[in-house]
């Protein structure tokens, strides 16, 4: 199989899950009309959720989920040692995801709420890059299989990959979705990195920012917009903190 005279690379891939819902790796098996060619472009050698094969000779590790326990740190380091390329797959791996909402409580308090007096081990949530170096971060809750296919095409042909720098608003315009603000809803589309094809506004839900900030988000104009439309600072902050991708109030740096 050659494409434009180039022999595709067909990398050996391992797929690994940490603290999450495993919805991102599930996307790998979606978009069934191109599932065959997708699975031919890579070699899956380790993917616990769908295969008993436990190959240790993977070159690319796709890692989903955030890190919340010591045994996960150990497992992640072993994966990092083996993989030439480590990909943080999905919002939990890239930013910590909704798991970070637990950390408004101490581990002790979270345990008391859920397990009473028989607590289980947990630590404050870390994104994958906070534990080991990450080569590529693919955000999304869940990731977009269409976008992932494009990335795999680039990897297979050894071409550089570039995420869209513009915000989700551009993709709403492309698919003729009526602006959520015009429907009276709050939406983080003006701040959030595109590439998802804006499914949420099309389904009647304003953006919650799962892909994190666009390249150069215009916070000043956004603040003016939400104030003009009557949304409170608390409503906006609730949403910005939901997936862990935006700087939270009071913090200087992006998480």
């Amino acid at each position: 199989m050659r494409y434009l005279g180039i022999e595709p690379i067909r990398p050996r891939v391992g797929v690994f899950s940490f603290t999450c819902c495993e919805g991102c790796v599930l996307q790998l098996a979606n978009k069934e009309e191109t599932l065959g060619p997708f699975l031919e472009a890579i070699q899956v050698v380790n993917f616990r959720e769908i295969s008993t094969e436990k190959g240790a000779d993977y070159e690319i590790a796709l890692v989903e989920g955030s890190i919340s326990r010591d045994d996960e740190v150990e497992r992640l380091r072993q994966i990092r040692d083996q993989a030439k390329v480590l990909v943080a797959l999905g919002t939990c791996a890239v930013f910590g995801g909704v798991n970070r909402l637990k950390d408004v409580f101490s581990p002790q308090e979270a345990n008391r709420i859920v397990y009473g007096d028989q607590s289980r081990e947990t630590a404050p949530i870390r994104a994958v890059h906070e534990v080991v170096p990450v080569d590529l971060s693919i955000p999304g809750c869940p990731i977009s299989k269409v976008e992932l296919e494009r990335i795999v095409q680039h990897v297979a042909l050894d071409l550089p990959w570039q995420f869209p720098e513009y915000p989700v608003c551009v993709e709403c315009k492309q698919r003729f979705t009526v602006c959520m603000f015009d429907k009276g809803q709050l939406c983080l589309g003006p701040l959030t990195r595109a590439g998802c094809d804006a499914p949420c506004p099309a389904g009647g839900l304003g953006c919650w920012g799962c892909r994190g900030p666009a390249a150069d988000p215009n916070h000043a104009e956004f603040d003016a917009l939400v104030a003009r439309r009557g949304f409170s600072r608390a409503q906006v902050q609730d949403r910005l903190s939901f997936f862990g991708g935006f700087p939270t109030e009071g913090s200087e740096e992006k998480p």
Binding site: S17, F18, T19, C20, C21, E22, G23, C24, V25, L26, Q27, A29, N30, K31, E32, E33, L35, G36, L39, E40, V44, F47, R48, E49, I50, S51, T52, E53, K54, S68, R69, E72, G97, V98, N99, L101, K102, F105, E109, A110, N111, I113, V114, Y115, G116, Q118, R120, T122, C141, P142, P199, C200, A202, G203, G204, L205, W208, Q235, D238, F242
Partner: protein, 425 residues
């Protein structure tokens, strides 16, 4: 003859999430047989505190990557119950159609990608792509159809966007619905072919009597809300979920365990089938008869067959639902008018793996002050554990090897299609 067997599976494959199997047999006697869930806890019941009602469904969808529509639906129903919100009829039909799409994609994922490889002597379904493209094609087409139904109605398969407190955020285009209807009709032969594939599988001969718990609806196969019944004669309202689940902690598990009339009970496709066989679509009943599946079956491996029967049922019911949705007036409401108010709400929904309960208490600003989610796999874990002991005892006979017993124990867990991340949440 001295028969010693050891099974030690760390992070069982072809299930959602992380669980371990340990079996020790000495001199033909079972010394230990365990199913332990070791998934990292996520503390959703803490995360939900102080969240606004508009965030609860979006957050709890993230409990599960496979049955997120079920979670979102249970969540918004609990919020609606708390705030006394009545959902427009058309929105109710759209929700059920989205749920049928999820049932189809989840069951097909389990049947072909997680369960079938054991019966075919494969590590995974991936080799089927080249070795048996006919079967791989069935799997891809049927799963794709389930996903397309979800995408069209709920906005997305994983982590839906249109299912919101009060109703639905969008109504699918009639052209899309008509196309889906044609695709579902075209899938009926695919489902028949799937039944033929599974009829050829050698299903382990194992039974352990247990209590099967499911929802029950008047004359209909149950999906959303209603009475909760069991094969031991329990019949209660969904609001009494605490008396129906009795959650407790087990030291080896991050998932809680449950019990009802006995030490353990089972929920899921087989429980629904056992309690509601008469309400199945005739085409689904016929497939059950062809597969020699009849109520009440106490063989947990029959869960695979019950899932297949349900696929046929939801396909036919989806066609009827699409016709009803298409017949609804263009200006029929899909969202209720309401104001948030303080209150408690409880909701039970039959998701692919069994009954899911959500309970919230809201303050007058529409923020959550108490939250509880009881997950199907949480309800099944103790039953899987007890099955493991009985299975090990039954198969600890001459000729059994560690490898064969490991496969049987793994197949047992897989038959329940556990959603382990969910069960820990």
């Amino acid at each position: 003859m001295k028969l010693d067997l050891n099974v030690d599976v760390h992070h069982l494959t072809r299930v959602e999430g992380h669980g371990n199997i340990v079996v020790r047999i000495q001199d033909g006697k079972v010394q230990e047989a365990r199913w332990d869930v070791v998934e990292t806890p996520r503390y959703f019941e803490a995360m939900l505190l102080n969240k606004h009602y508009t965030a609860a469904g979006i957050l709890t969808a993230r409990i599960c990557g496979i049955c997120s529509i079920g979670h979102c639906l249970a969540s918004v129903r609990a919020s609606e119950a708390a705030m006394g919100v009545g959902v427009p009829d058309l929105a109710g039909r759209l929700r059920l159609l989205a749920k049928h799409g999820e049932t189809l994609q989840s069951h097909v994922l389990h049947l072909f990608f997680l369960a079938a490889p054991d019966f075919l002597g494969l590590d995974s379904a991936l080799p089927l792509m080249t070795e048996n493209p006919t079967v791989f094609g069935l799997a891809a087409r049927l799963k794709g159809l389930g996903n397309r139904i979800c995408d069209a109605v709920a906005g997305r398969t994983t982590h839906p966007v249109s299912i919101q407190v009060g109703g639905m955020g969008a109504r699918p285009d009639p052209t899309v619905l008509r196309s889906l209807r044609q695709q579902i009709e075209a899938a009926v032969p695919d489902l028949a072919a799937t039944a033929e594939v599974f009829a050829g599988f050698d299903i382990p001969d194992f039974e352990r009597e247990t209590e099967f718990v499911s929802l029950k609806a008047d004359g209909q196969y149950p999906w959303i809300g209603g009475r909760v019944v069991s094969t031991d004669g329990v019949d209660r309202d969904e609001h009494e979920y605490r008396e129906l689940t009795h959650e407790y902690l087990n030291e080896n598990n991050t998932s809680k365990w449950c019990k009802l009339s006995r030490d353990a009970f089972a929920v899921g496709a087989l429980a629904r089938f056992n309690n509601n066989h008469a309400a199945l679509h005739p085409a689904a009943r016929k497939v059950a008869a062809d597969l020699n599946l009849s109520p009440v079956s106490h063989n947990p491996f029959h869960c695979n067959l019950a899932q297949l029967v349900e696929c046929v049922h939801v396909a036919h019911e989806s066609i009827a639902l699409i016709d009803e949705i298409l017949a609804a007036p263009a200006d029929a409401p899909i969202m209720a008018d309401f104001e948030p108010r303080a209150g408690e709400g409880i909701s039970a929904v039959e998701v692919p793996r069994g009954i899911l309960y959500h309970r919230y208490v809201y303050d007058e600003d529409g923020r959550i002050t108490e939250a509880d989610c009881v997950i199907p796999t949480t309800q099944n874990n103790a039953n899987i554990h007890l099955d493991m002991g009985a299975l090990a005892a039954q198969f600890a006979t001459r000729g059994m090897t560690d490898q064969k017993l490991e496969l049987l124990c793994s197949m047992l867990v897989r038959a329940y299609d556990p959603c382990i991340s969910c069960s820990v949440h």
